[in-house]
């Protein structure tokens, strides 16, 4: 197939080929055709992968002046979505990922629940500054993290399921009980599509894991020091 590109350049007066003519001749070479197809594929792939560059939004309130973070406590996550047990799914996954990829020791969920009962804090209630200090001291942690699932669902696509997850995390300094920073992150399974159905994330569990990793990476990028470093 012969393609011409009109760039509205005037022909040279000395009888040599003008720009349009040069382009036409070049495109007649079969090697260039293969190269252009390859180039097109590269552009599609890059375009597809560029969808995954969305970063968690991060709001800092205080600067953490402590040492590297080695221990945290997760408060019971609050479910603001209609997905049953969505808060527990995200909480368990986030706790596992904190330990797995960041090497952070997460205080036992049972210990957090015991203190919640003792301080008479309802599961859907956020503790006061004093209560966070008690939690932090008793569990011997540096940070206390609360979470709220604002959106979790599985949308039915064309022969695939598109999970959607949005989460807000609030991080408190366990010693002072004050908010250090908060993070909002939203992702859909289709955000990770490479080509056709390749790369799609099909389960909320897998999406929770990826979101958790992205948030933790973002925290480190924002200056949170990794344990032992």
């Amino acid at each position: 197939m012969l393609r011409t590109i009109n760039l509205n350049r005037p022909s040279s007066k000395n009888g040599s080929l003008n720009f349009n003519e040069q382009i036409t001749i070049i495109m007649n070479f079969p090697q260039f055709r293969y190269f252009s197809i390859f180039l097109l594929l590269v552009v599609i792939l890059l375009g597809g992968s560029s969808c995954t560059s969305s970063r968690p939004s991060h709001g800092k309130k205080n600067v953490y002046e402590g040492e590297s973070i080695c221990s945290v406590a997760l408060l019971p996550f609050i479910n603001g979505s209609r997905f049953e047990q969505g808060n527990l799914i995200m909480q368990r996954v986030f706790a596992a990922e904190l330990t797995r990829i960041a090497g952070i020791e997460v205080a036992s969920e049972g210990d957090v629940q015991n203190i919640y009962r003792e301080l008479r804090i309802y599961p859907n209630q956020l503790p006061s500054i004093e209560q966070i200090r008690v939690l932090g001291s008793r569990l011997d942690v540096q940070l206390v993290i609360s979470g709220r699932i604002t959106e979790m669902e599985e949308k039915m696509g064309d022969n695939y399921v598109n999970p959607v997850l949005a989460v807000t995390l609030q991080v408190y300094d366990a010693k002072r009980g004050k908010t250090m920073w908060n993070t909002y992150h939203r992702r859909e399974g289709t955000d990770y599509r490479k080509v056709m159905h390749f790369g799609l994330v099909n389960t909320v569990t897998q999406l929770s894991r990826i979101i958790s990793d992205e948030i933790i990476e973002e925290w480190f990028a924002e200056g949170m020091k990794q344990c032992g470093k």
Binding site: T99, R100, G136, R138, N202, T203, V204, T205
Partner: protein
Amino acid sequence: MKRFLIITLLTMTTLIASYAQAVTVAVFPVEDLSEGRNGVNFTLTEFLQQNLQEKGIEVIPTDKVISFMSRNRIRWLGFLGTSHIYQVRDDLGADFILFGTVSQRQELPLAAFGMVLTLVRACDARTVWTEVGGMSKADISNFFAIDEPESLDDLFPVLAQQLLSSWPAVLEVTGQNPGIVVETSRLSSQHVKPGDEVSCSVKIRTPAGGETISQVLLRIGEDNYLDMVEVSPNSYAVFWSAPDHEGLLPVSLVLRCQSGRALVFFVGNYQIDTHSPKLNLKVAGKNVNNFMAFNGRLPITPVWLDPEPLSHWSLFIQNMGGQVMAGTENKGSLPQRFVWNGQRPDGHKAEDGIYEIVLTVWDRANNSTVSTKKVFLKSTPPIPVINAAVGNDSLIVTLDSEDEIPVDYWSAEILYSDGEVLLQSQGTDLPVDVLIPFPSPSDTRQLEAVVCMKDVLGNKAQKKIDNLMQLVNVEDDQPEPPKQQEWVPEF
């Protein structure tokens, strides 16, 4: 020689590997969130147990684990508190505990399965391995759909195997020294008056192999230390009197160990409150003779001078004899507004008169304040007084009210008996004279009067006089009282 070396090396490697995995694991029943908060998946629990046994790991039987759970009243799956983790080590002899949570397990719209596995070392309650995974039927697409999963049953072994593939090659049974656990701490009460008794009780667990406590102290404020008394094994308590000065005092538990180390746990703050709550009462009535008067519905608004949280409050409305007409009390903060509808407890209207509103509030330290306000209830209509007199060229009708409550509005209509209106008048002040021109002498129709009044509280009255001229001649028409003709004995 070379063969001997290889065999020796292989034997040593196998021995090291088998020693590395010579651990005991308690696999707790897998929590299944797809079945709700209390869901349990025994199929997956057995699958995990078998898989670990195949790795040469000793697994504690399920019935022993369940028996442990019932003994220790463990109601939730997927995690344990630190004390229970130490208990698992002591009671079941487990080196590690494997917790599993099925995050999702569904056939529709597409078969999907998700899982979280966590391995906790029992000696120091630390997480040593964890893995998360989710898999859908759409994730596995093979050439010509060969060996693709058909349902959920095909998915979960694939995912579980995938997760367990990263199981640590070597599991270190010994970790850090187990830490001292403060199982419970209670500070009571957190809001006190000067001199009130404050108490703190704690329950501590010192795991085997951990540090030994030599002294249990309570630090109040910056540098005031109290020795805590062991009231029962591992339970300590102390009582003290709150100081006289107002302020917030932090309370921390200090555990001095035999090693010389001191562990500090923040227990909470307690507030010494020397001031009573400050508030007034505002009622929405009409100010009549320095009393707030109302005619049946009285909005009462507490107005804070210095707002503070309350523990409880009560509001009563009583008459001057001390009889309670209405009342309510509750815990927590005050409502923004109360409304008394002027009724007695039996639902009937309360009589006109003076009533007292008594609002008592107690703050969290039990300091109380009483606010009172007297109000005047007047729900009966005004009583119109109508007099008539003959003037020079007109009839003078004098209107007045018997009540002390001022009139907001009055109107008078003078009309003939056949309905023809002779005069209409209205105003806001009483008493007032209304002048009516004399009708012509030939007119034989009677004069009627309709008088309406509304007082400032909204009570309305209407009075009709059928024959106005009767009021003029009232003295003439009245029969003279009969004269006493004889003496009557008085009893």
